[in-house]
């Protein structure tokens, strides 16, 4: 086994954490814990690279190595942003600041060459018009099933939800939440707040709510990552994340890093790919 630290090693580790068919010669448990610990490190500050220890097996060979993730990110597939309409450019700027590579997704084929996807803020009704004229619902459900992470902010959270109210509209159902559109009211009720988002460390995060929805209830499989004002504002179910605020409207890259920082080297490893 030729093991050179960095680029070639990472897909194995990441796919392990994100549950993409852990390859038989990798122990998923160790990968999960190790990478999860690294995520904790991410929260402390947003300095570029950090290291993570992984243990790899091939046959009865065991290899321990320390990867420097900063170097891994540069060689990997981009994060897509669904760009029919909305603040996709703001998400692209945030991804770039986070050291990740954005790309704009407007065609179903674009989903094949990205390692994660953002459904941005904007008008969910407008985005739905585009999603409904081609088989996007199937494509996005397949995308989620492939284990690559999804992040919806505001309108994107509405699209991901299982149930949408006020008024009711169709949605992808990838996240077991009930979400109420324009939950806080109209634009004059838009507001900013500062709050601790525990998974992101001890520095408070600025929450920008613009005609934001409210998550009224979450299913049993949904983890609430942050609450504000008595409502969940950041949730996840496996690799599907949703925020009702707009991290992309701030200079803070921690949330994007948390969701995508380690994911950028997924997609699914090729079956015949050399194991590291």
């Amino acid at each position: 086994m030729r093991l050179t630290p960095g680029e070639r090693a990472c897909p194995v580790m990441v796919s392990t954490y994100f549950g993409v068919k852990p390859r038989s010669n990798i122990t998923s448990a160790s990968g999960f814990e190790q990478v999860h610990a690294a995520l904790g490190l991410l929260g402390g500050d947003d300095a570029g690279a950090f290291s993570v220890r992984v243990i790899l097996w091939q046959g009865n060979l065991q290899q321990r190595l320390v990867l420097r993730l900063g170097s891994v990110m540069r060689c990997s597939l981009p994060i897509g942003i669904l760009s029919f309409q909305g603040d996709f450019a703001a998400h692209a700027r945030t991804l770039e600041r986070a050291g990740l590579t954005p790309c704009f997704v407007r065609r179903i084929n674009d989903l094949e060459t990205i390692s994660g996807l953002i459904l941005p803020g904007g008008e969910s009704t407008t985005m739905l018009r585009f999603l409904q004229v081609e088989p996007w619902f199937t494509a996005l459900r397949n995308f989620a099933a492939s284990g690559r992470p999804l992040l919806g902010t505001c309108a994107g959270a509405i699209l991901l939800a299982r149930t949408v109210t006020h008024p009711a509209q169709v949605s992808l159902g990838l996240l077991d939440i009930t979400i109420r559109r324009n939950g806080y009211g109209r634009q004059i009720d838009s507001f900013t707040a500062t709050s601790l988002l525990l998974p992101l460390g001890t520095t408070p995060f600025e929450l920008v709510f613009i005609r934001a929805p409210i998550i009224d209830s979450v299913g049993p499989g949904v983890e609430i990552l942050a609450e504000y004002g008595g409502h969940p504002v950041w949730v996840r179910q496996d690799r599907v994340f949703a925020a009702t605020f707009h991290p992309e409207m701030t200079d803070d890259v921690r949330l994007h890093r948390f969701v995508f920082g380690l994911a950028q080297t997924v997609p699914e490893p090729k079956q015949n790919g050399a194991s590291v």
């Binding site: 760009s83 029919f84 309409q85 909305g86 603040d87 996709f88 450019a89 703001a90 407007r106 803020g121 904007g122 008008e123 009704t125 407008t126 018009r129 585009f130 505001c154 309108a155 006020h166 008024p167 559109r181 324009n182 009211g185 109209r186 634009q187 004059i188 838009s190 507001f191 900013t192 920008v208 613009i210 005609r211 707009h246 409207m249």
Partner: protein, 297 residues
Amino acid sequence: MNDTQQLMRLKTGLAEMLKGGVIMDVVNVDQARIAEEAGAVAVMALERVPADIRRDGGVARMSNPRLIRQIMEAVSIPVMAKVRIGHTAEAQVLEALGVDFIDESEVLTPADPYHHIDKLAFRVPFVCGATNLGEALRRIGEGAAMIRSKGEAGTGNIIEAVRHLREIRREIRLLTTLAADELMAEAKRLQAPYELVRDVAQNGKLPVPLFAAGGVATPADAALCMQLGAETVFVGSGIFKSDDPMRFARAIVKAVTFYQDPAKVLEACEDIEDGQPMRGLAVESLPAEQILAARGW
């Protein structure tokens, strides 16, 4: 970040959410529903579209709040409404009503011959028209959260919107080539706030989103505006003065999203089938007092 900056971020934040979309003029609840169904990102609620204001003459004022409220209740997308240039009291009425964006618009008859509204004094965001960079920066200095080209509303003629977009973008590009010690003189020439001139010189773009308005009548018109640097397109008379509003609305929405993809813009044009766009007006044929873009300064 202080309170003023926080508020400004909320205002420009909504403008960001409207990017890559189409904002449609509507005069009643039925039209508002058609616009939402077609994929508009927002509607502009008003009593008459610009083409009718132009035809009718007289004084054009803020619309009846009752009509605006009905439209707000009928759709879930943001609702905008227009006030006359400098008419602070009309703007206060619309803010109290809860509209999502106010357009201080040259399409209505100006109320103040000297001054625009002090938009920093409001919690609701404003959009203002501009014909060049200096005008855009003066409006931003007053607190506008979005700039649109003035174009020549109600003509179905794109030439003035193109003129204004090209002028604004050309002046921005020129600014980025200047040395730091040349910017004050340029601010003086532009008659624009120095801090904003410096900001544009550094960033190569306006500090707020730039949208297109005035004369958009076809999907190709909308795609042209986007190619010239607009980030969203207002369509005033172009949809409901066409002979097939739903088809035109959907087609223009598609053309804006895929403005870089001629095959998709072609699809949008073909989606209209036999529909005819609004009848246009040659801007040169308009008497000077009917040139709306000359209103404001």
